[in-house]
């Protein structure tokens, strides 16, 4: 299958800072991608580059076969409402939804209206007076109802309450099942979206450090928990992504274990726990647990 996005050697520098650094990947049609990474890792910059809102310093971007910059036929197929999207000061959500109809060729006004009711979005309130969650809802509604072949959701969960998050999850799944398209979810709230993702891209300090199938990625690591001495003995000679301990107990995150190794661990009295996508990303992007908890 032909990729709809091909990126190679992509770099974006702001002064001496490389916000995106030598990144290369492809996106295939009809899949849900997670673009994960910490705050300031370069997620939004990368999406801005893919949607022609930013100019690359170096490298090649092809979206639907050509550069997205100033090409209306490419931009027609995209939707990217950034988390910090700026709206005209005097706009209310109804103005946003009304004008969306003029810009997105696949816009479904009835679907948008349904989502407005479900998300309980006040359409006649000034955008700048909306709460963070309501603002996220505006972006989510535009993203869903635009039905763009390549849709970016930038931190869609920010400020949404649990019901609204579930609603987004349900509507997105149902709608892409009916009208398949490529979706890129960018977020640092990884556990929230983990089940949605088919493929994961992790970016850290501008560099792409993971480009893997989500299922595969989940199997790449395991946590070993047990008495300190037993854990130490078991992980000796293995690559340890993370280590933690309280008193005589210890846990270590190690790379993929084979069936034999699992049996070996069990025989040594150790417990094996799966590592969530979030934990894995946290390990890979170098935060400590206390940092995660404080976030």
């Amino acid at each position: 299958m032909n990729a709809i996005v091909e990126v190679s050697g992509l770099t974006k520098r702001y002064g001496s800072l490389a916000a995106v650094d030598e990144v290369g990947f492809t996106l295939e049609p009809g899949r849900v991608y997670g673009l994960l990474g910490r705050n300031g890792a370069g997620k939004t910059t990368l999406m801005s580059l893919l949607t022609g809102q930013e100019f690359a310093t170096e490298g090649r971007i092809e979206v639907f076969g050509r550069s997205p910059v100033e090409h209306a036929d490419v931009l027609d197929q995209l939707c990217f409402i950034r988390e910090s999207q700026r709206y005209p000061d005097d706009f209310e959500p109804r103005h946003v939804l009304r004008s969306a109809e003029w810009f997105f060729p696949n816009w479904d006004a009835a679907f948008a209206q349904q989502l407005v009711e479900e998300f309980r979005l006040p359409v006649k309130r000034k955008i700048k007076k909306l709460s963070r969650g309501q603002l996220s809802a505006v972006g989510v509604i535009v993203g869903l109802a635009s039905r763009a072949p390549l849709t970016f959701f930038d931190e869609p969960y920010l400020g949404l309450d649990a019901s609204a998050r579930q609603l987004f999850y349900d509507r997105l799944l149902a709608d892409i099942a009916e009208r398949p398209r490529t979706v890129v979810l960018s977020t640092h709230l990884i556990d929230e979206v983990a089940d949605l993702l088919e493929h994961v891209l992790v970016i850290d300090r501008g560099r792409l450090i993971v480009d893997a199938d989500a299922e595969e990625l989940r199997g790449t690591a395991a946590s070993v928990v047990g008495p300190r001495a037993a854990v130490d003995a078991f992980v000796a000679g293995r690559e340890v992504l993370h280590r933690d301990g309280i008193g005589g107990l210890s846990s270590a995150t190690v790379s993929r274990l084979s069936e034999a190794e699992r049996a070996e661990a069990a025989a040594a009295g150790l417990e094996l726990a799966p590592v969530s996508l979030q934990q894995l990303v946290v390990r890979l992007t170098g935060a400590t647990d206390s940092e995660v908890e404080n976030r």
């Binding site: 299958m1 709809i4 049609p29 009809g30 801005s48 949607t51 022609g52 809102q53 930013e54 100019f55 100033e70 090409h71 209306a72 036929d73 931009l75 027609d76 197929q77 995209l78 939707c79 990217f80 409402i81 950034r82 999207q85 700026r86 709206y87 005209p88 000061d89 005097d90 706009f91 209310e92 103005h95 009304r98 004008s99 969306a100 003029w102 810009f103 997105f104 060729p105 696949n106 072949p149 009208r179 398949p180 398209r181 490529t182």
Partner: protein, 255 residues
């Protein structure tokens, strides 16, 4: 996956006209573009009318003197400044938004210029109609003037609308280029622009003064008259339009 691929491409036939989309975007909220300036204008007019009334009641001078004097009124100038502000804001308010909705910079600029030209034309026509009413009612019944002022001469109502339109375009273009520079280079762009503008103006004045050419300048415009002078505004308008595009062409949603 195969079914997915089949539905992915958007048929070219359904493609929206983005210049038109941007044009409409500028008018989607009529409060800012129409109701607010109309309200302010109505208020200014009401204030002026009351003052004319007071003058009429309080003085015994001839109506002709009053009628003559009020033709120098600057009360109508509000709308020109408003258009400048609207143009600056149009850029700053909608550029990031339109880019987020997938407009190209080129389509955005063309749609914005179209919107600004149309609104200048709309205001100029309204201005001209009000001026005609003003003349027909002997200055709103009080010998007052707000629209049929001396600044737009007495070449007839159509010519007045044309002059007003050109002056509005001039203010709009000034706002447009200032807005584009702000969107691209933020405060530095604006400060730089007005610094250069001030230098050019002072330089021009110095040149005229040092070569003792004030009389020549006066006779130049005198010969051209209103009909010849007002269209000269199209020169700075065109320069501003080009400069604005140069600034916007490489502007990003981030800057």
């Amino acid at each position: 996956m195969n079914a997915a691929a089949a539905t992915l491409a958007v048929p070219a036939t359904g493609r929206p006209n983005r210049v038109l989309a941007v044009f409409r975007l500028h008018f989607v909220n009529p409060v800012t573009v129409a109701w607010m300036p109309l309200g302010i204008y109505a208020f200014i007019f009401a204030m002026n009318w009351l003052i004319w009334l007071i003058v009429n009641v309080a003085t015994t001078d001839s109506r002709e003197g009053m009628s003559e004097g009020t033709t120098w009124s600057g009360a109508s100038m509000f709308i020109f400044v408003w258009l400048l502000v609207i143009a600056v804001q149009a850029m700053n308010r909608t550029f990031h938004f339109a880019l987020g909705f997938g407009a190209t910079r080129r389509d955005y600029y063309l749609g914005t210029i179209a919107a600004l030209v149309v609104s200048a034309a709309g205001w100029a026509i309204l201005f001209g109609i009000l001026a005609m009413i003003e003349e027909a009612t002997d200055g709103w019944g009080l010998g007052g003037h707000m629209f049929a002022s001396v600044y737009f001469g007495d070449d007839g109502p159509i010519a007045r609308i044309w002059y007003v339109f050109l002056l509005m375009l001039f203010f709009t273009a000034l706002g447009l280029v200032a807005g584009a520079l702000f969107v691209r280079w933020r405060t530095f762009g604006l400060v730089g622009f007005f610094a250069v503008l001030a230098l050019v103006l002072i330089g021009g004045i110095a040149w005229i003064a040092l070569t003792s050419s004030w009389a020549a300048v006066g006779s130049f415009f005198g010969t051209l008259g209103f009909a010849g002078s007002y269209p000269l505004l199209l020169v700075p308008v065109a320069i501003a339009g080009l400069l604005g595009y140069v600034a916007l062409r490489r502007a990003t949603a981030r800057s």
